[in-house]
């Protein structure tokens, strides 16, 4: 379902990073652990097709990301990969609901407000649909960004340090939500984190070494 083969990424001609191969089956959840600067975010960006590897391949649902370019890659990412950013990146000028429908629109899918509202309800913020992101609490914004990541029912959910700015209670809640939503979508869940608390929620782990 999700696999990487002998991935290499060059930040500059002299600084290259080799990443371990990852193989995850449908519905499998995995933590990407390691200290800051070890390449967790780079691996996530490679997995999302936001960066191109200098060597190796990323395969999502049987499709090699390296074989696609431009609009095709953008649309593939929109439809099949949901991303939860460390800094959420909700669009401040759009309401919570519009943030979700813009995900449908950008992916080239039909705009389905009912589905978007349902996703918000599943995450317990159905009543915040017409609020602007600036009016949400940190926890609500976190949920909204998860809702946006799953609204297109992706095959792969990537989360970058989703818990780093949360207290213990909220961190566990967010992890539970991610796991729960990934399960409902039958999606692969890959969480990059250096947060030790996450180890209790997910069994499978990949440890990355210090920066090469």
């Amino acid at each position: 379902m999700f696999a990487t083969h002998s991935l290499q990424f060059r930040y500059s001609p002299s600084a290259a990073l080799s990443l371990p191969d990852v193989h995850l089956a449908s519905g499998e959840h995995c933590l990407l652990l390691g200290p800051s600067g070890c390449g967790k975010t780079t691996l996530l960006h490679l997995a999302a097709g936001l960066l191109r590897p200098s060597d190796g391949a990323v395969v999502v649902g049987g499709t090699d990301l390296g074989g696609m370019r431009g609009t095709a890659l953008d649309h593939f990412r929109g439809r099949n990969i949901g991303i939860v950013f460390q800094r959420l990146h909700l669009i401040p000028s759009l309401t919570v609901l519009q943030n979700l429908t813009s995900a449908q629109y950008c992916a080239g899918l039909e705009v389905d407000e009912a589905a978007a509202r349902a996703a918000l309800s599943r995450l317990g913020i159905g009543n915040k649909a017409s609020a602007l992101p600036g009016q949400l609490s940190q926890g609500q914004a976190q949920r909204a960004s998860i809702a946006r990541a799953i609204v297109n029912r992706p095959q792969l959910i990537l989360a970058d340090e989703p818990t780093s700015s949360l207290d213990d209670g909220n961190a566990m809640l967010v992890l539970d939500l991610l796991v729960e939503q990934a399960r409902q979508c039958q999606a692969v869940l890959l969480i990059a984190t250096h947060d030790a608390r996450t180890k209790y929620a997910v069994d499978r782990r990949i440890e990355l070494g210090a920066a090469a």
Binding site: L50, T71, G78, I91, Q98, V111
Partner: protein, 423 residues
């Protein structure tokens, strides 16, 4: 959810900054449009008033003054000319038509013009009510005079001199016998009567001239078609009586060839002066043109400022929107779509600015036209749309595109991963 929502959400979200650029753009467009309107309406009016008048014969003096006073009825006349000499030129074979004018009095600031009915035909005036004058002291009024309060069958008194506030000829009231339809020419502001009426009043006037010798010197030139003449009431056939004076003759040539010789002949062979409206009007517009050009340059600077501000605004907005656009890319939006979002935002802003500017300009010109005294000469209307305004509509496309160019290029090229992790 569509491109428009994504583009305009940002405009709505940052109202203050966006409305500031809108105002700048609006002002720039409004000034340049208003200038276009005003200069074209003044130019058009001057052209219409002088249409078909190839040459004016009057007393010696400034040719521009002669044209301004007899064709546009703005200035005071250069003086009077003997009717017999004038009619000698009127009978010249190169002259197709000669309309005599005799100026001197006004009522409520509207000039009373002694002339023949040819003047009405010349400006294609049609009667809205009543009839043309047939006897002395009968008057036909233009549409603006009627609007100012004079009515059919109403008697009124002429006031000596060409602007309001002189000596009133109270014992010689005129009678309005006809009202003209609006013609969009100087005719609308005139009170027309027979030459005899003017002569009759001023013959009388002359007898008791001692009463008001303190009349302003400027009136004097225009004063009197009737120096030392006995009044001849009822003498309608006296239009070309050789012993009388008129102010000017409006001449239409029989053939274009006359333009070469006739003015020179008049100027050299008589004490009269010939002035050519087309030439004097061009000279006048050239003088005015300097002012218009300065204003136009100023408006240009304003528009460039507005465009620059729209550009800087969009460019700055990009710094904050980089993340938004990168997020949209992550969500699957293609580069082209992201560029389109920016472009639509820029075009929407500048289109709104342009339309508001056009609206503002028309409203302002209309307001000026209504507030300014119509007797001042040119009545402005904001309800006319000029072909010259069409290029202005292209402005938003240009300004918006240029302003969106660099930010869009940056958005197009931006490295999403670097943008997002650099947050």
């Amino acid at each position: 959810m569509n491109l428009l929502t994504l583009s305009l959400a940002d405009v709505r979200h940052r109202k203050l900054a966006n409305s500031l650029h809108l105002i700048l753009l609006t002002l720039g467009v409004a000034i340049i449009t208003a200038l276009l309107l005003i200069s074209s309406e003044i130019g058009g009016r001057l052209e219409r008033d002088a249409e078909g008048i190839d040459m004016v014969i009057g007393a010696k003096g400034s040719p521009l003054q002669l044209i301004l006073s007899t064709v546009y009825h703005l200035d005071i006349p250069t003086g009077n000319i003997p009717l017999d000499e004038a009619s000698r030129w009127a009978k010249n074979p190169m002259v197709a038509q000669a309309i005599p004018l005799s100026l001197g009095d006004n009522t409520k600031g509207f000039r009373i013009v002694g002339t023949t009915t040819d003047l009405v035909q010349h400006y294609q005036g049609r009667l809205r009510g009543g009839r043309l004058w047939q006897r002395p002291m009968e008057a036909v009024i233009g549409s603006e005079v009627a609007r100012a309060g004079l009515k059919l069958d109403q008697p009124f008194v002429g006031v000596h001199c060409l602007s309001a506030g002189g000596h009133a000829h109270a014992d010689h009231p005129y009678q309005v016998v006809g009202v003209l339809e609006p013609t969009g020419t100087v005719l609308d502001r005139l009170i027309l009567t027979s030459l005899d009426s003017v002569w009759e009043i001023h013959a009388q006037h002359h007898h008791d001239a001692d009463d008001h010798d303190e009349d302003a010197a400027e009136d004097h030139a225009a004063d009197h078609g009737a120096e030392g003449e006995p009044a001849m009431p009822g003498d309608a056939g006296a239009a070309y009586d050789p012993s009388r004076e008129i102010t000017a003759l409006l001449i239409q040539y029989r053939s274009p060839l006359a333009a070469i010789s006739l003015p020179r002949m008049v100027n050299s062979q008589s004490k009269l002066q010939a002035a050519v409206p087309a030439f004097e009007t061009a000279r006048l517009l050239q003088l005015l043109g300097l002012g218009f050009d300065t204003l136009r340059a100023l408006a240009g600077v304003l528009i460039v400022t507005a465009a620059l501000s729209a550009f800087i605004a969009l460019y700055n907005a990009m710094e904050t929107r980089q993340y938004d656009l990168a997020v949209l890319r992550c969500l699957g939006a293609s580069r082209g779509r992201v560029v389109a979002i920016l472009w639509i935002q820029a075009i929407a802003l500048s289109t709104a600015g342009t339309l508001l500017g056009l609206l503002l300009a028309h409203a302002a010109v209309e307001a000026i036209g209504r507030l300014a005294n119509t007797a001042r000469g040119v009545d402005l209307s904001g309800l006319v749309v000029l072909p010259a305004e069409l290029p202005i509509l292209l402005l938003p496309l240009l300004v918006g595109s240029v302003a969106a160019l660099i930010p869009a290029w940056r958005a197009y090229r931006s490295d999403i991963a670097a943008t997002l992790s650099g947050a």
